[in-house]
């Protein structure tokens, strides 16, 4: 089981969502994050310049079985890229275990509805 975290542009979210659906990802979570990256834009607030190199991004968090890892990454790479600086990153890490709260099912089973595939 793997966790895939992707930090993407807000404006690419809808496209990524569709690409993930096509890649067979039915469930994921996301939230808004701010990134400190290379894209700087100066701001002035009441005469004081301040550094807000912070850019709004969306962090998508997907827990999935091994076999979905490759298609998921490809889907994101395709859908989220614009080619301009600031497109974001994808990180993959290991998950030791999982549970479905509704049923208490453990492990891989927590990630798919049995007989639902």
């Amino acid at each position: 089981m793997k966790k895939i975290e992707a930090i993407i542009r807000k404006t690419k979210f809808d496209e990524v969502k569709e690409a993930l659906n096509k890649a067979g990802i039915e469930f994921f979570s996301f939230w808004e994050v701010r990134g400190i990256g290379k894209a700087h834009e100066e701001r002035i607030y009441r005469g004081v310049a301040y550094d807000t190199s912070t850019i709004e991004r969306i962090l998508i968090s997907i827990y999935c079985r091994e076999k979905f890892v490759k298609p998921t990454i490809d889907a994101i790479l395709n859908a989220a890229a614009t080619g301009e600086i600031g497109d974001g990153k994808i990180f993959i890490s290991d998950i030791a275990d999982a549970y479905r709260i509704r049923t208490g099912e453990e492990g891989d089973k927590a990630l798919y509805i049995e007989g639902g595939e």
């Binding site: 809808d14 834009e41 002035i44 807000t52």
Partner: protein, 424 residues
């Protein structure tokens, strides 16, 4: 006989005093109305901010503030004279900084401030339709020009003694369904069309996408503020409150204005509910505004029942119109300004031809007024469209009208103003 002299003297004093009171009460009325209409600027700012995304909130608020700022200055500098200066039928006169003499029944300054708040309204309507993608400097130029020239010229035709008011059956646009709202709505149409839709509004295959506004709360409160302001806009346009006839007139206008708004709000809610199975607030808000815009031309001339029917129709019309521009014409108007102000401004002006209790077709008075109304609508819309087309194309060519892709995506607030509206 000294008695008679004293009495004659007293009578003279009384006559002066009575005239002064009429003058004073009218002034108070017009100034109070001006305050209410001024507040509509805030209402527009709230509605437009609420219906757009939070990354562009500073920008849209700023535009609304500058609409009134520039409107105040340019209308005072030039617009007022162009609109109300003595007429050659098509245009008034240049009265730099409005020092001329216009009224005897109230101070000129009272008339000026009342007309200023009206003028600024026409500009403000446009910012909503062009929201989320227009360059700030281009917008400011447009805003100055509409208050200074475009609005005053067609306004002159109807209210300044121009040709529309000289027709055999004079054009009847009591408080500005056409003079204000149709002008604003027409410019909004041209502006939104020349700009093109926001990124993400239409999919690759042309399918329409929803871009929800960031705060229905702001939009709803803004509509309450506008509804409130309309109690200055319409009854204030009577420009007098003294005497039984005036008192009755402004009271009737309060009632017709209010009932039309309620009619619009009710009709939209029911129509949307039937059509989409759910009553939607954002559209119902447009419905209330549509009722208000539509009654503005005839608020003094129709019965409460007539106002209700006009409001109901406006409430349905605005939905159809929003969908038409969104889906068929594919002009992206984030707040529905074209439909609310343009389409319903024209519709409301025409309806006077049917529902006027003294001149309307439905009251057996023939189609003479209706014909005049149609002429007025065509002329005013034609002028506003032509003038703003020239202006927007000029801006596009010489200055650029639309921000860069990246700025539009990341939000105008940071790139155009260096300031996001919301922080923690």
């Amino acid at each position: 006989m000294t008695d008679t002299l004293i009495i004659a003297d007293k009578i003279g004093t009384f006559e002066t005093a009575l005239a002064e009171y009429a003058f004073s009460l009218n002034t108070v009325w017009v100034l109070v109305a001006a305050v209410l209409v001024f507040f509509m600027q805030a209402g527009f700012a709230l509605v437009e901010a609420g219906f757009t995304r939070s990354k562009n909130t500073t920008n849209i608020l700023f535009k609304n503030l500058m609409d009134f700022t520039l409107g105040t200055i340019t209308f005072w500098a030039l617009g007022f004279g162009i609109m109300f200066g003595s007429s050659n039928g098509f245009i008034g006169t240049i009265d730099l900084f409005s020092t001329g003499s216009y009224r005897t029944d109230m101070p000129d300054m009272a008339f000026l401030i009342f007309q200023t708040v009206f003028a600024a309204t026409a500009a403000t309507i446009v910012s909503g339709a062009m929201a989320e993608r227009t360059k700030f400097n281009a917008y400011l130029i447009f805003s100055a020009v509409i208050s200074m020239i475009i609005y005053p010229i067609s306004g002159h035709w109807a209210w300044g003694g121009g040709w529309l008011s000289q027709l055999a059956v004079p054009f009847h646009d009591f408080a500005g369904s056409s003079v204000v709202h149709l002008v604003g709505g027409s410019a909004a149409l041209v502006g939104a069309a020349v700009l093109g839709p926001r990124i993400g509004k239409y999919g690759k295959n042309g399918e329409v996408k929803a871009i929800p506004g960031h705060s229905i709360t702001l939009a709803t409160f803004g509509v309450f503020v506008l509804w409130l302001g309309w109690f200055g806009f319409n009854p204030g346009s009577q420009l007098a409150a003294t005497g039984v006839a005036n008192a009755k007139a402004i009271s009737l206008i309060f009632v017709t204005t209010n009932i039309a708004a309620a009619g619009g709000s009710l009709a939209t809610m029911l129509y949307i509910w039937l059509k989409y199975k759910k009553p939607t607030l954002s559209m119902t808000l447009n419905g209330a505004l549509a009722g208000l815009v539509a009654i503005t031309a005839g608020c003094d001339a129709v019965s409460p029942g007539g106002a209700f029917i006009i409001g109901l129709m406006a409430g349905v019309l605005v939905v159809i119109s929003v969908e038409f521009f969104d889906r068929v014409v594919k002009i992206d108007d984030p707040v529905g300004a074209i439909s609310v102000h343009g389409v319903n401004g024209a519709f409301g002006t025409l309806m006077v031809g049917f529902f006027s209790t003294s001149q309307g077709l439905f009251y057996g008075q023939g189609a003479a007024l209706l014909k005049t109304q149609a002429i007025g609508v065509a002329a005013i819309a034609g002028w506003a469209i032509a003038a703003s087309l020239v202006l927007f194309l000029g801006l596009k060519y010489f200055n650029g009208l639309r921000v860069e892709k990246r700025i539009e995506e990341e939000g105008l607030d940071i790139y155009e103003h260096g300031e996001s509206a919301y922080n923690s």
